[in-house]
């Protein structure tokens, strides 16, 4: 700082030159105002000196500042000037005149040049010595005391000191101001760069809503900041939004209405400040010409605050305008709008879904209901099929029942006849007894003869023998009927769905007693019962399977044949094999036989459900049903049942 303080003033050359012209002017004035004092010779000499002085000054004015400073010409010039002026004063004997004042100019210049107090002091001293010395050359020391010369000496120093002091003061001030200016320029530059770097638009409007400042970012909306200055903000706000954001129109709407800060309107040209200023006002901006081809507008979010100043005259706060920041939120708004749109769609979908759900619930109810109905229907079907199978057996069963019934009825009627005979015989015996009681030998012999005659005529031994046979046959017939009825009842009664441990051999035997009539006239039956463990199953249903397989086997026989029923244990379960030596199943329909309503029998002879239902039953028992067949050689059905069928309703 100190170094700069004493540095040469950059303008010192100009100042020097100007002051020297002034000195020259003053000298010339002296010279021309009192020419009578000087002899022409002297006058010529003085003019020459002044001319030289002027010439040197002219030369100096063409010299560059740098050169001036480089060779420190200021000092040289100063001393030359002092000598010159001293010389002029000496030559014209101007000690009594006011010419000494010119010295002051020089000293002043020296101070202005920035030489500092010391140099001013030296200049003052040199001037004093020269002035005094030259005076004493022509005058005595005594005259020195009587004249004002001595009085003038301190003034040289005084001027030197004062001018130096003021010059320094001035310089200091100048330097400080310059520094401050530089700094503020720098700050301004920073601020401008900053404002123009911010991607958001920063604006300022005056109290009328006209732009007084716009940051460079406004170019992104297609405007040049310069072109918009002085224009009203309605130039850029979308017409749709303008009434909602303009103070003029909005305040009209809110007139006489009290609003809290929360419900307070948001404004472009906001006048409120601080916490009540406009924040996050979303509106649309019309794009400028240079943004043509893009969307007609963009969404922006803006913050705006009032700007207040103080009126100098009244000292009151006055509104000077609004200042704010505008941010492009088109993308996020579009996204938001899209999301809102999506939300609405989703809500709609949701509503639809709810309706659909209800519908589905209703459907579920119906499905459940129809499932129940189907289950019922299936049970009925099972029952019908069973009854249909029995229907096929009707002839056989009727035969099987009616045969014993035939001889039963006949036998009982005959037994009645026998009883009558025995009764009449017993009656005779009683008469004989009475005769014996009366001890009438004639009557006894008569009655005895009667009995003997009756006995002879009735063939009593035959009756005696036949009655036993008759009763025995009758009982066997009753048993047969009982047995078949029991089987029939067991088999045809409605399925109770109960699973119980059952012997497969027993089931097969039971079914055989029903179908025996079908088999016995057509086939030789071979039973190969193995040792089988009890199997947990629905015996009626399994019986139905066995019945179907046996009936199929019988029907497969073209004329005569052999039907073999085998039971055995296998793979943790029991197996039933029903083989026939019949016509076999053609390979092309082998995979269809388990399909419902598939039948090869003529219409009315089969339901086409037998094997399908059998397969169902076996699957419900978690078992397997398989078929192996060769045309014209026979068919074997194999049913395997696990000992305990887990899961699966009956």
């Amino acid at each position: 700082m100190t170094k700069r303080f004493f540095r040469l003033d950059p303008n010192s050359k100009d100042i020097t030159v100007v002051f020297r012209w002034l000195v020259i002017l003053v000298l010339l004035c002296f010279l021309f105002f009192s020419p009578e004092k000087y002899s022409p010779q002297k006058f010529g000499l003085l003019m020459g000196l002044i001319l030289a002085y002027a010439l040197s000054n002219a030369g100096l004015s063409f010299l560059s500042d740098k050169t001036f400073a480089k060779y420190k010409l200021n000092r040289v010039v100063l001393f030359v000037d002092i000598f010159l002026i001293s010389a002029i004063i000496y030559f014209i004997k101007g000690f009594e005149t006011d010419l000494y004042l010119v010295y002051f100019l020089i000293i002043f210049v020296a101070a202005i040049q920035g030489g500092g107090l010391r140099r001013s002091w030296v200049i003052g001293l040199v001037t004093a010595i020269l002035y005094m010395g030259l005076y004493l050359r022509n005058n005595s020391v005594e005259s020195l005391l009587s004249s004002y010369i001595l009085l003038r000496i301190p003034f040289f120093f005084l001027v030197a000191v004062f001018s130096a002091y003021h010059s320094e003061q001035l310089r200091k001030e100048t330097s400080l101001r310059k520094e401050a200016e530089e700094k503020s320029l720098q700050v301004l530059q920073q601020y401008k760069t900053l404002v123009d770097t911010i991607p958001d638009i920063i604006f300022e409007v005056d109290q009328d809503g006209k732009f007084t400042f716009l940051s460079e970012a406004v170019r992104s909306a297609g405007y040049s900041p310069k072109a918009l200055l002085g224009k009203h903000f309605s130039e850029i706000v979308h017409p749709d939004d303008l009434p909602q954001v303009s103070r003029k129109t909005v305040l009209e709407l809110y007139k006489d209405k009290m609003t809290g800060d929360r419900e307070a309107p948001k404004l472009f040209d906001e006048r409120r400040t601080g916490s009540r200023m406009t924040r996050s006002l979303v509106l649309k901006l019309v794009l400028g010409a240079s943004a043509a081809g893009r969307e007609p507008f963009i969404y922006v979010e803006m913050h705006s605050s009032g700007k207040w100043g103080v009126d100098e005259a009244t000292g009151k706060k006055v509104l000077s305008g609004s200042i704010g920041i505008i941010r492009d939120v088109t993308e996020s708004t579009r996204n938001k709008k899209a999301i809102e749109q999506k939300n609405i769609e989703l809500q709609l979908i949701n509503v639809n879904l709810e309706a659909r759900e209800k519908e589905l619930e209703g459907m579920l109810g119906e499905v459940k209901k129809s499932h129940e109905e189907l289950k019922k229907a299936q049970a009925q079907l099972l029952q019908s099929e069973k009854l249909a199978s029995i229907g096929q057996l009707a002839a056989g069963i009727a035969h099987e029942v009616n045969n014993p019934l035939g001889f039963l009825g006949s036998n009982i009627a005959i037994l009645g006849n026998y009883m009558e005979t025995f009764k009449s015989l017993l009656g005779q015996v009683r008469t004989l007894q009475e005769a014996v009681g009366r001890q009438d030998p004639g009557l006894i012999s008569e009655e005895a003869q009667k009995i003997a005659r009756l006995g002879d005529s009735l063939d009593i031994p035959y009756f005696m023998e036949d009655a036993g046979r008759l009763v025995q046959g009758t009982l066997s017939g009753v048993d047969r009927i009982k047995k078949i009825m029991t089987e029939l009842k067991t088999f045809s009664r409605k399925d109770e769905g109960a699973r119980q441990a059952a012997d497969l051999n027993d089931i097969v035997e039971g079914v055989l007693s029903i179908v025996w009539n079908e088999i016995k006239y057509k086939a030789e039956l071979r039973k190969e019962y193995g040792q089988v463990p009890m199997v947990k199953c629905n015996p009626q249903q399994i019986g139905q399977v066995v019945l179907n397989l046996l009936l199929n086997a019988v029907q497969a026989l073209e004329d005569q044949g052999v039907i073999t029923v085998r039971t055995f244990a296998r793979d943790g379960g029991v197996c039933l094999e029903v083989s026939d030596t019949g016509k076999g199943i053609p390979p092309e329909i082998l995979d269809k036989i388990f399909e419902p309503f598939f039948t090869t029998k003529e219409q009315g002879k089969g339901t086409g459900l037998g094997l399908s239902i059998s397969s169902d039953i076996v699957q419900k028992h978690k078992g397997l049903i398989e078929v192996a067949s060769r045309e014209h050689q026979g068919t074997t059905f194999t049913v395997w049942l696990p000992l305990e069928a887990r899961g699966g309703a009956s």
Binding site: N403, P404, L405, S410, A413, I414, D466
Partner: protein, 168 residues
């Protein structure tokens, strides 16, 4: 005394026994067969007037077929078919193609069956009697023809109002 020969055919012993019991009658000569083979043999051996045959008989032959065979050689034999199950097809076949006298359903009514059999046999005896008489007549006619040939005019006898023979 000429006894009616009745052939009973059923695969069930109990049925045969019951029928035999029912038809135990000095007038009837009963023969029981358990199958077609036996039946044919018995018919050949003893002859037959009436056959009472079950429909469900045998793996080899049913009642209708057996009756057909029996009737083939014995035109006048009375046939009755028994069945435990009324199948209209069987009935039609039996009646239409065989001329079965009666179709009997099991279980039967003893009295009905007895009456039916008695009537059938009576009818048969009437037929046989008729046939015998016709044969007789034919024989007489043949005799008359021969007489006429040997003694022409002998068969044409004229009678007067009082029924006395008038010799021409």
């Amino acid at each position: 005394m000429n006894r009616y020969k009745i052939l009973l055919i059923d695969d069930e012993e109990e049925i045969l026994q019951a029928l035999s019991r029912l038809l135990r009658n000095p007038a009837y000569d009963l023969h029981c067969a358990h199958n077609a083979q036996e039946a044919l043999a018995l018919a050949d051996q003893h002859g037959v007037d009436l056959v009472l045959c079950d429909y469900m008989l045998d793996k080899a032959m049913n009642g209708v077929e057996l009756l057909r065979q029996l009737v083939k050689e014995r035109r006048d034999v009375i046939t009755m078919l028994m069945t435990g199950y009324m199948d209209i097809k069987i009935a039609l076949e039996a009646i239409n193609t065989l001329g079965v006298y009666k179709f009997i359903l099991k279980p039967w009514d003893n009295d009905d069956l007895l009456v039916t059999i008695r009537r059938a046999l009576e009818q048969r005896s009437l037929i046989l009697e008729n046939r015998r008489l016709q044969d007789e007549l034919k024989k007489r006619e043949l005799l008359l023809d021969r007489l006429e040939k040997e003694h022409p005019g002998i068969t044409h006898v004229k009678r007067d109002k009082d029924g006395r023979i008038v010799l021409e």
